[in-house]
């Protein structure tokens, strides 16, 4: 999860004022998302009526494209920025509500497969990114941040690790820029590769969840392929997110042993602090759905509410992506990230293919 847009830091505002500052940006997210939904419905109909050949573009892509167009042409005015940054809130609320579409048995079965693949992916990605960072002569802590960002959870993991290993803000900004740029590219490349390889929804969703770094981009990359692939991508990515605390703890212990970070006192408290709480919310809703706490109509309502939350997220993904800002960060971290991401994408694709043969999907 990530944002390149944040609240101004000059002075803390009152809570009520902070709330009202969010409204214009949230309305912009809703407008962009809904425009995407309208375009999906109407462009295809219009093209068909005029006998044009036009690909069926889903609302996910429309919302992202509209957001990208605004962000990279006129830019996002200051008044909207605080609200646009709430896309991360909508993403996580959407994931919690998505739990209603998973029965607990499915979560345990698919989550178990994902967990095994995630463990292999994290180990492989960290080892390879560390090697690449050294080969390109990046600063060691920047290399650590890039490795964590690629292996676990994009920007959230980078920010969690930055605090734990006492890395510079500059290193963090470099790593975040590289991860954001690559996340934006993956939105367009992953669905194309998936279709070219004729991947099943299951295999593609698992692959997107394992290989795409930011949760927002992983969710969008999955949804761009199909609804079923989107569900699987969220589940795999959520499993990956759950590992964040362990990886950050390992890095904190390593850098403390080098005398370059504070020693971690209470490791259990550290793990709880870093654990993404929305994973627990997702599991709770899934348990409630499994034990029929909700009727069929209520489950449908929850699933639709989750879709609306994701719609705002996808609009935010486009609106917060500014290629000009990313270009300013320099080529080397981006090159390391790009090479790493390509290798991780191929590696995870092979993992998914292997798991598919083993478990028959």
């Amino acid at each position: 999860m990530a944002e390149a847009i944040a609240l101004p830091q000059s002075r803390p505002a009152q809570p009520a004022l902070q709330f009202f500052q969010l409204i214009p940006g949230v309305l912009l997210l809703a407008a962009v998302g809904y425009a995407g939904k309208l375009l999906e419905r109407n462009v295809g109909t219009y093209a068909k009526a005029h006998h044009w050949t036009f690909p069926n573009i889903e609302y996910v892509l429309w919302a992202i494209l509209i957001g990208l167009a605004i962000s990279n042409t006129v830019g996002v005015p200051q008044i909207f920025r605080a609200g646009v940054a709430t896309y991360e809130f909508w993403l996580k609320a959407g994931i919690v509500l998505l739990g209603s579409r998973f029965l607990l048995g499915d979560v345990l079965k698919l989550g178990g497969v994902s967990l095994a693949l995630v463990a292999i992916e994290i180990a492989g990605a960290i080892a390879f990114m560390t090697f690449l960072g050294r080969a390109f002569g990046l600063r060691p802590k920047l290399t650590s941040l890039l490795a964590v960002g690629s292996a676990v959870c994009g920007v959230s993991a980078i920010i969690a690790t930055q605090g734990a290993i006492e890395a510079d803000d500059e290193d963090s900004s470099f790593a975040i820029a590289a991860i954001l740029a690559l996340g934006a590219l993956s939105l367009f490349t992953f669905p194309l590769i998936g279709h070219a390889l004729h991947l099943s929804d299951h295999a593609y969703g698992l692959w997107a969840g394992l290989a795409v770094d930011n949760t927002a981009e992983a969710t969008a990359a999955g949804a761009l392929y199909s609804d079923a692939a989107g569900k699987l991508a969220v589940l795999a990515k959520t499993t990956r997110n759950a590992m964040i605390g362990f990886v950050v703890l390992a890095y904190a212990i390593y850098w403390a042993s080098q005398g370059q970070a504070k020693t971690v006192g209470n490791k259990a408290a550290f793990l709880w602090q870093k654990f993404p709480k929305f994973v627990l919310g997702f599991l709770l809703i899934s348990v409630l759905a499994t034990y029929h706490f909700f009727t069929k109509d209520q489950t449908t309502a929850l699933a639709n509410l989750s879709r609306w939350a994701f719609l705002l997220t996808f609009a935010g993904v486009g609106l917060r992506t500014n290629f000009r800002e990313m270009r300013k960060q320099g080529l080397r971290p981006f090159a390391v990230g790009a090479i790493g991401e390509v290798v991780i994408a191929v590696f995870t694709l092979a993992l998914v293919a292997g798991a598919g043969k083993l478990f028959g999907f």
């Binding site: 944040a6 809130f89 609320a93 803000d169 709480k277 919310g281 909700f294 509410l305």
Partner: protein, 43 residues
């Protein structure tokens, strides 16, 4: 990018994480749906 540094410091200064707010809001919405306050959510 400069704004990323702002993201880092803004996250550090939050009392409750976005995660926690998102879970609270989602569970509240689920309860409202369960209680019949929100009956139909179209897509």
């Amino acid at each position: 990018m400069a704004t990323n540094a702002a993201v880092v410091s803004s996250r550090k200064s939050r009392l409750l994480s976005v995660d926690t707010w998102a879970v609270v809001a989602a569970l509240l919405a689920a309860l409202l749906i369960r209680a019949g306050v929100l009956t139909r959510i179209p897509w």
